[in-house]
Symmetry: C2
Subunit: 251 residues, 2 copies
């Protein structure tokens, strides 16, 4: 990005990720970018309509190879959030069978974590996020297009996170609990039965920070110093020395 | 950023820039990031409280040198928005005299545009933004701290943009006109007399796109294709070939 500063958090997923900056939607991406301002850039790699099958060849183009990483800032955290499209009913071209969905997620994790991978990035921490529940009442016009519960896909994401020992954001359960286990009340969090509204993105934002705190506390914004100092720290008589970049410690 | 895709827009300035992602504030940075999603990343290089004098040595650390640029994505557009702190009254450590402010802005433009500069980036377009007007009624508690009209600083930014032949966002005039040339009505656009509220950031967002359209139309979001195709373009029988990255044309 023609900037040799600063490291980043990358949000990779489908429309739920891409929409995370949408004006007036309290998007979790824009809010994380604000929370991490001057600490880590937050990068939108959301691809509306994509499933894991299509996401993989795209990831292999935008994520830096080991060779490229030498000259680039580090993705300190990668949040992978798929499933909303993979779980479409079989007649949709977006559908990815559950077993293949699982294989794809594992493949993505290993692309980054396996020392044999050409995308191996040992300083990148990974968090998987489950798809949220779907409100079939809101989506009655589209009932045939998606498999309502999505629970199988959410459970699979949780299983893989455990197996691969990466972080997990279980937004399925967070939202289901918040809705009082009442499908119709999911409309408090989903504007069309599938996509998150402001309250839904608030749940997601809170869940992201909760998982970071629990799994990778060194990446919590409260524990990262700003790359460049606050203006009150600047010595007007010694400006250059007092605005030197800090090396954010890698743990 | 450990990603070899995609190019960016960099917003460089003080708290007016840093606050451009603040939740619930309709921030121009977050909204531009949404508008340019999958086309250009929008990078927050806002430094609350900074003036041009302190901004320069920071810029020289975060902006890539010619040598570094070879391995990095391109900053296609750099928006420089200073003046709100530079124009403080002389007793503030943030104050930068008008002539020095002018020199500093020219220095920044030349860092990027001069073939002799080690930061020379010929594919980076530049837009300067004026500081907005200040509402001295709202800021009566701080009346001594800032020079109210700011008009001198705004005019200087306009002069330099013309002289250096770069784009200009005259948010001073936009906001003054929107307030009906009535200082008290500036409270419709400034929440504390200095910092923009949602309506103020809407003016700024619209002004950014208007200037891009006028000065660098090839960078308008409507004229940039997505780096990776929309999902409807994907051939399920030929996925890898159909999700190839497009090279965004440089004009």
């Amino acid at each position: 990005m023609s900037a040799n500063v600063q490291n980043s958090i990358m949000l990779f997923g489908d429309s739920l990720t891409q929409g995370g900056w949408e004006p007036g939607m309290n998007g979790f991406g824009a809010n994380l970018a604000h929370r991490y301002a001057r600490k880590l850039d937050v990068i939108n790699r959301g691809f509306s309509g994509y499933n894991t099958e299509w996401g993989i060849p795209v990831f292999e183009q935008f994520f830096a190879t080991r060779e490229q990483q030498k000259d680039l800032q580090i993705v300190r955290l990668l949040i992978i959030w798929f499933g909303a499209n993979d779980s479409c009913l079989v007649q949709s071209p977006q559908h990815v069978p559950l077993a293949k969905f699982a294989t794809n997620l594992k493949y993505l994790v290993n692309l980054v974590q396996s020392p044999e991978s050409q995308y191996y990035s040992p300083n990148t921490r990974i968090i998987l996020a489950t798809p949220p529940p779907v409100n079939t009442y809101q989506r009655k016009a589209n009932l045939d297009a998606r498999d309502p519960p999505l629970l199988d896909y959410a459970q699979t994401v949780k299983d893989i996170a455990q197996e691969e020992e990466v972080g997990i954001i279980d937004i399925w359960t967070k939202m289901w609990d918040a809705a009082g286990h009442d499908e119709q009340s999911l409309s408090d969090y989903l504007y069309d039965g599938l996509h998150l509204n402001g309250a839904g993105y608030q749940l997601m934002y809170d869940a992201v920070l909760e998982t970071i705190e629990k799994t990778y506390p060194e990446l919590h914004p409260d524990r990262l110093e700003m790359v460049f100092p606050g203006w009150g720290m600047i010595d007007p008589n010694n400006v250059v020395a007092s605005v030197q970049k800090r090396e954010q410690r890698l743990v």
